[in-house]
Amino acid sequence: MPLSKNDLDAILLTLELASLTTVLLLIIGTPIALWLARTDSWLKRPVGAIVALPLVLPPTVIGFYLLVSMGPNGFFGQLTQSLGLGTFTFSFTGLVIGSIFYSLPFVVQPLQNAFEAIGRGPLEAAATLRANPWDSFFSVVLPLARPGFITAAILAFAHTVGEFGVVLMIGGNIPGKTQVVSVQIYNHVETMNYAQAHWLAGGMVAFSFIILLALYGGRSARVRTL
């Protein structure tokens, strides 16, 4: 297989990035989705719109604003510097942060839908059966929202694997740190190494296909047993 060390590193790095992003997003996205599903506050619509922004913004726009704000002159960059953490551009941490923004709606929206589908009923039943809100979340909401969680996790993972524009803007193409598969393919094309580009790109297509097959296969299986 004509994959260089850089290529293999890129694949590993991409998988690391996607996994970490998925886990973090599930943790961050769940309370946001819960709030959006339950609240009656006027803030619901603007927050929902902000969460959905990465769906419509070109990734390079997200990347550009991250570049500026994470830099030493930007809001976020100044915050991290004052905490002694330096700046996050050109680092894996920066990519994780970028990916979290980039894939946020792909986690929050399926979760929000799942929570809304549960409705008030089961939660009220749980309350009348002595379950406090924390308890009813783990014993009722989570099990009933399981399909939503699975969808959210798969989407976040696959979406982050395919991330390009954001990484391009803030990555700096550092092997082993920010050189992910999508950027590496771009590099190969740029330097006219088409064979290697094919290998990597083909691999990504196969991978995405398998993921989607699993996602859709799983879904229709669930529908059948209902």
Binding site: G121, P122, E124, A125, A126, A127, T128, L129, R130, A131, N132, P133, W134, D135, S136, S139, V140, P143, L144, L226
Partner: protein, 374 residues
């Protein structure tokens, strides 16, 4: 805020009453009730849809938070908005039966039943799982999933689930409303047994007069978010100033005991307390002494000064006139029948013709009797 802190319900004097005051304001509806109910037996919240019965019940449960609220249940204070005290739903010792059972779809029947039971300390478990299973006849359904149950079965599981938490107050929101007639007949007896065998006070919301008449001891009439009447069942039903009377539906509820059965004619004979009279109605045999509750519509009762001979009427009972009320172009009379009361609806003409006066002894001719229970 998240209901973590275990709030201790302050104890007030236990006078065996449930006192509630709720003012709940929604966009286009206002609930404003003041209730004093017995902490025993079944209290029915009756009214047509939109009258606020469910909202009221939810306030009892703590599922709604009224702007003003006071709730005291047999010596425990659950809510007092003036003192800023509110016991959240999950800390109230209630059992709630929803209109559509509301079982957890991801748990089996057993899982559903044990859900609440697990969450009360062993010391407080007074209703055993077995008892609830037997009471509701659902022992054979334990391993099934809710989706595989019929409507009636689901409702019975829902009731059992609420019971198993050994609540101090059982709240039922039109539990039979979503069932067809057959299922209703199936579940009603179980509710009756609940009433008879457990000592838990029940608040029962319904818009079906027959259910209420059959099960309730205390009746609260709600209309447009306000209490129009609250009192013991039979007395309240008799009141002529209530909607009952005017929509052709004025009726009296009579309790009796079986004292005989004429097999050849399929006629059941009932003894009425405080009266020599016997009430007869077509029914299969029942054991002697078995309690029976019937209702008799006012318009099915006509009056006669003498005992009519050779009449096809099944029931001719001696009664005394107690009071009367003018109702449109007719008169609604309240008669004493032994220890109980009967309603009769006659024309003004007849009223004058018969020379009706208080204490008058006459004969009530009852055209038809409807069985409520069993």
């Amino acid at each position: 805020m998240f209901g973590f802190r275990k709030v201790k319900a302050p104890v007030v004097s236990d006078d065996g009453r449930i006192r509630a005051r709720f003012v709940l304001q929604h966009a286009d509806f206002r609930l404003d009730v003041n209730l004093d109910l017995p902490a025993r037996g079944v209290s029915a919240l009756f009214g047509h849809s939109g009258s606020g019965k469910t909202s009221c019940l939810r306030c009892f449960a703590g599922l709604e938070r009224p702007q003003q609220g006071y709730l005291q249940v047999a010596g425990e204070l659950w809510q007092d908005s003036q003192r800023g005290f509110f016991l959240p739903a999950h800390q109230r010792a209630i059992g709630y039966v929803f209109q559509d059972a509301n079982l957890f779809p991801h748990l089996s029947v057993r899982g559903n039943l044990q859900y609440g039971q697990k969450r009360i300390p062993a010391a407080q478990r007074r209703v055993a799982l077995d008892q609830a299973l037997e009471l509701l006849g659902i022992g054979h359904l334990l391993e099934r999933m809710p989706a595989a149950l019929s409507g009636g079965e689901r409702q019975r599981v829902g009731i059992a689930r609420a019971l198993v938490t050994s609540p101090r107050l059982l709240l039922m929101d039109e539990p039979l409303a979503s069932l067809d007639l057959k299922r209703k007949q199936e579940v009603l007896p179980y509710l009756q047994r609940l009433h008879e065998e457990l000592d838990i006070p029940v608040l029962y919301v319904s818009h079906a007069p027959d259910e209420v008449a059959r099960l309730a001891d205390h009746l609260v009439l709600l209309d447009d978010g306000q209490v129009r009447a609250s009192g013991p069942l039979k007395e309240t039903l008799l009141r002529a100033d209530l909607p009952f009377a005017s929509d052709e539906g004025a009726e009296a509820v009579i309790d009796g005991e079986v004292c005989g059965h004429a097999a050849a004619y399929e006629l059941l004979e009932l003894r009425l307390p405080g009266s020599e009279a016997r009430l007869r109605l077509p029914h299969a045999a029942l054991p002697d002494g078995h309690p029976v509750r019937v209702k008799i519509k006012a318009r099915d009762v006509s009056l006669s000064l003498q005992r009519a001979e050779g009449s096809s009427l099944l029931n001719l009972l001696p009664a005394t006139v107690e009071s009367w009320q003018a109702l449109d172009a007719q008169m609604l009379l309240t008669l004493r029948l032994g220890e109980q009361r009967l309603l009769a609806r006659i024309t003004r003409y007849s009223f004058d013709q018969l020379g009706i006066h208080a204490g008058q002894a006459l004969w009530a001719q009852i055209k038809s009797v409807s069985l409520l229970a069993p």
